[in-house]
């Protein structure tokens, strides 16, 4: 009888990379559903386009690099990149926007660096920033939440807009964005950014219809849904709590201080935390294992840094939201964070 020989350990918890990625995708479902509810079918089409593009570009890139394409596709990492980018862009953005973004994310931000595990930047956020600086109009054309809009697009109309940039009856995205009151609607954060530069006070701005509720119609529920998904990831130990909490504290703490000093210029912590991409970023984007810090202390610092940068960009920068920039800037700092947060090895003078 010939015996099977293997190196210890002989036991494994049987959770592979693909399982980790699958959990991330599953946990994103509540957020995606809420986005679908508030922003229409466009979300679905963006997801489909993104996934197809991701699989195709990943396969081509791997073939070119003489790597087994099928085995790598099974790890679900391209899928996660695709989904994160698809839910970050305006649902009615033309089809080529998401295709360019995902292709760039997969080919340049991931495969050119050497594939899974080798990229220093979060691929989805690299794709997002490329799109944001290249196509600012398309990338900021968020529709008002369905509850505030008098244009309720059908599945077919949505597809028509994404493919041809006009509805079958000839409305452009810009026209669709016009609200019931005849004013073009922006996201709550965009409203604040534009309004403050025009000399309005916060109390005047938050009185607008987009700000019904705590932190804006639709967006607050999107954030709550991603928070729920994130808690599932924590419970399943897919992510540790350090990065998400770091991001939330990093946004909320300076917001609290600034708001108490200047309540009419600075948004409060609750609005910040439930606006824009805060929760999506905290639980799904910043926690990308490849490009994040690795030690728990490092994760804390990494999270806090992202949160602080988001708050800075939102409050003083040129963009209404800043998750993508914040994540990329923090990615840059990872090597140095990792270097200086290395825990003391057992027996080298650390305390128990």
């Amino acid at each position: 009888m010939s015996f099977f020989i293997a190196s210890s350990p002989h036991e494994h918890n049987r959770r592979q990379t693909s399982d980790v990625m699958r959990w991330v995708l599953l946990a994103a479902i509540p957020g995606v559903l809420v986005q679908l509810f508030f922003f229409g079918w466009g979300v679905l089409f963006q997801l489909l386009l993104a996934i197809v593009t991701a699989w195709a570009t990943e396969a081509i890139a791997l073939q070119t690099r003489n790597r087994p394409a099928l085995a790598s596709l099974k790890d679900n990492s391209a899928l996660v990149t695709a989904v994160l980018l698809a839910i970050s862009i305006p649902p009615l953005a033309p089809w080529w926007v998401i295709v360019i973004g995902v292709a760039f994310a997969i080919i340049v931000a991931k495969q050119v660096y050497g594939g899974l595990g080798q990229n220093i930047f979060n691929p989805a956020m690299v794709g997002y920033v490329l799109l944001l600086v290249s196509f600012p109009v398309q990338m900021t054309s968020w529709l008002p939440p369905a509850t505030l809009s008098d244009n309720d697009l059908s599945l077919w109309q949505t597809l028509h807009v994404i493919v041809f940039e006009y509805t079958p009856s000839g409305f452009s995205v810009e026209q669709l964005r016009t609200g019931i009151d005849g004013v073009t609607m922006a996201t709550p954060l965009d409203t604040v950014k534009t309004g403050l530069t025009q000399g309005y006070t916060l109390s005047e701005l938050t009185a607008k219809s987009v700000f019904q509720g705590i932190a804006g119609v639709g967006w607050q529920w999107v954030n709550v849904a991603y928070l729920v998904g994130g808690l599932v990831l924590l419970q399943q130990r897919i992510i540790s709590w350090h990065i998400p909490l770091g991001v939330i504290v990093g946004v909320a703490a300076p917001a609290l201080i600034a708001h108490s000093i200047s309540p009419d210029q600075m948004l409060g912590p609750v609005t910040h935390v439930l606006s824009g991409a805060t929760m999506l970023g905290a639980f799904f984007i910043a926690t990308d294992p490849v490009s994040a810090a690795t030690s728990n202390k490092g994760r804390w610092i990494f999270g806090l840094l992202i949160g602080l940068l988001v708050w800075l960009i939102r409050s003083f920068g040129g963009y209404p939201d800043g998750m993508a920039f914040a994540v990329l800037l923090a990615n840059l700092c990872v090597p140095i964070i990792d270097r200086y947060t290395r825990p003391t090895v057992y027996g080298h003078g650390g305390s128990a």
Binding site: S7, H10, E11, H12, R15, S77, G115, S295, V345, G347
Partner: protein, 560 residues
């Protein structure tokens, strides 16, 4: 660091970073009482089965030996004797495969048991408090006792250290899945274990023993608690179930909050640790006068029909134990010596039970599926989260693959205890421990080569220096001689005396000239010949002319 006695006394249980909770799977083996099995046909006793050197042989092929008879005598180094586990005949002394991942061969004594169980004369020291430390240590050494928990370090050597210590820690944690040998021993032999601990306390002069058991062994805890009740020197410590809390360093951290310094020993921080099985063996050696002949081995895994813990004589072939336990291999036959986290797979079943064999695990393929294809590291840090030594396994893995040995040492690769927690959680199923072992072996190799090269270099340089020195000395000698000659010459000139060489030359010239003048007619035909030769020839010719009677041969001989 050592000022925390009051916390330790209060029973504080500290914690250690990382750790994992693999399925425990102690049952069904742990539910069955310890049993004895049939004598095997043969016993194979490797001379060396623990850290240290092999002893010298005391028996020869064909000898009949008694149960408990020493078969080897330890040499001057840290060796331990091996004993005949039962009365038997020595049928061979030859290299046999031993319990080693590679199936390495060791010189072994092969015994054929006669089934009579005839003992040698036992020399118990039952009243151990009447005997001094040195005598007890010598007895423990002669009994061949090595640490039965892990690496098999000779117990006597550990006890011989002279340092005041705070605590003796008795390790009954047994944190690795499946294994229940210590568990069963504690349930069934608590009193004897504690007697062994009493002896250890007496030998070391330590005042208190902490007995550590993981909280997943309620029966063992109860048995030990009952046995401890009448002893004041003992305290029970229940540690939470987490792998690898039974690792020496981790258990020390749990019970005392102290850390064994890197490259140091527990006694550096005032502690000594022994396994419960070792304590039991010490009791037997001292109180009963019986050397270490057998140990408890857990036979477990779903490929065994009758799992359970057995008393196995040292030297029992694994095949015999497998047979006794009803081994029915599936299509992935596998026997692991040790547990699923740190044990090693056996290449064949002809290897024997040795002093450190605590478990034989025969899992089915479904029970412990083999690792799948290694994927790319995604830097998720799951490995770092579970590392009990607070290492950065993902970094070590990169560095090991890149063969960056300097950086590996800088990141304390050698503090890795190879517990396997990192590989257990790795989502990319990277065999991390395997990479570390390989890198450690290579670093050690490089260090050895370097040491060798260093010696060679020193020798070469010494030789170069010697040659250089000798050359210098030679030149110096020549220079001095030349100087002396010069000086002598100068002195001679100054004193007006002739140069002796010059004088000699002139004397020769003068003689030559005289001879030439005297023999000029006779030597005309051979002017190049020296004056002496010419003179001789001339003499010969003169002789010839005088004698007239000499023959031609004589003439020729003279001339030549």
């Amino acid at each position: 660091m050592r000022g925390n006695i009051s916390d330790i006394e209060a029973g504080v249980i500290w914690t250690f970073p990382g750790g994992i909770h693999p399925p425990e799977r102690k049952q069904p083996a742990s539910d069955k009482p310890l049993r004895r099995i049939a004598l095997p046909q043969q016993l194979v006793l490797p001379l060396r089965q623990h850290i240290g050197q092999a002893g010298d042989l005391l028996v020869a092929e064909g000898d009949r030996v008694l149960k408990g008879q020493a078969l080897t005598k330890p040499g001057l180094t840290n060796g331990l004797p091996v004993h005949a586990p039962t009365s038997a005949t020595v049928i061979a002394i030859e290299p046999r495969a031993t319990a080693h991942p590679s199936g390495l061969s060791e010189l072994s004594i092969v015994l054929s048991p006669d089934g009579e169980e005839r003992w040698i004369e036992k020399k118990p020291l039952a009243d151990f408090r009447q005997h001094d430390r040195a005598e007890l240590i010598a007895t423990i050494k002669a009994a061949g006792i090595a640490g039965l928990g892990g690496a098999g370090f000779p117990t006597a050597q550990k006890l011989a250290q002279q340092k005041p210590l705070d605590y003796l820690i008795i390790n009954g944690v047994e944190c690795e899945p499946y294994i229940c040998a210590d568990d069963r021993l504690m349930r069934e032999h608590a009193e004897e274990i504690l007697t062994g601990v009493d002896i250890l306390l007496h030998i070391t002069g330590i005042e208190k023993a902490l007995i550590a058991i993981e909280d997943n062994k309620p029966e063992a805890i109860q048995a030990m608690r009952d046995a401890i009740a009448e002893r004041s020197q003992f305290a029970l410590r229940i540690v939470p179930t987490k792998y690898p809390s039974g690792g020496e360093k981790q258990l020390i951290q749990l019970l005392t909050g102290r850390q064994v310094p890197s490259k140091g020993l527990p006694m550096d921080i005032g502690l000594l640790m022994q396994n419960v099985g070792t304590a039991f063996a010490v009791k037997r050696a001292i109180i009963d006068g019986e050397p270490l002949l057998e140990r408890v081995v857990t036979l477990t895994g779903e490929a065994l029909q009758q799992p359970g813990c057995v008393w196995a004589l040292l030297g029992t072939p694994i095949a015999h134990l497998m047979e006794q336990a009803g081994f029915t291999p599936d299509n992935l036959p596998r026997v692991i010596m040790g547990g699923p986290m740190m044990g090693f797979t056996l290449p064949a079943l002809d290897v024997p039970v040795v002093k450190t064999t605590n478990c034989l695990l025969a899992p089915t393929e479904k029970e412990l599926p083999p690792t799948r294809q290694e994927l790319a590291c995604i830097r998720c840090g799951a490995c770092a989260d579970v590392c009990p030594a607070s290492l950065q396994p993902q970094q070590l893995q990169w560095l090991a693959k890149a063969k960056d040995y300097d950086a590996l040492e800088q990141q304390q690769l050698f503090d890795c205890i190879e517990c396997g927690a990192c590989a257990y959680v790795c989502p990319s199923e990277i065999p991390l421990v395997h990479y570390y072992r390989k890198a450690k072996a290579e670093i050690k190799n490089i260090a050895r080569e370097k040491a060798k090269a260093e010696i060679a270099r020193e020798r070469f340089e010494a030789r170069q220096q010697r040659l250089e020195r000798e050359k210098e000395e030679r030149l110096e000698r020549h220079r001095k001689a030349a100087e002396a000659r010069q000086k002598a010459k100068q002195e001679a000139q100054q004193s007006g005396a002739e140069d002796p060489v010059q004088a000699a030359l002139e004397r020769v010239k003068r003689k030559k000239a005289e001879a030439a003048n005297a023999e000029a007619p006779a030597t005309n035909d051979k002017p190049q010949k020296s004056a002496a030769v010419a003179a001789a020839i001339a003499r010969a010719k003169a002789k010839k002319a005088k004698q007239q009677a000499a023959d031609a041969a004589d003439n020729e001989k003279d001339e030549s």
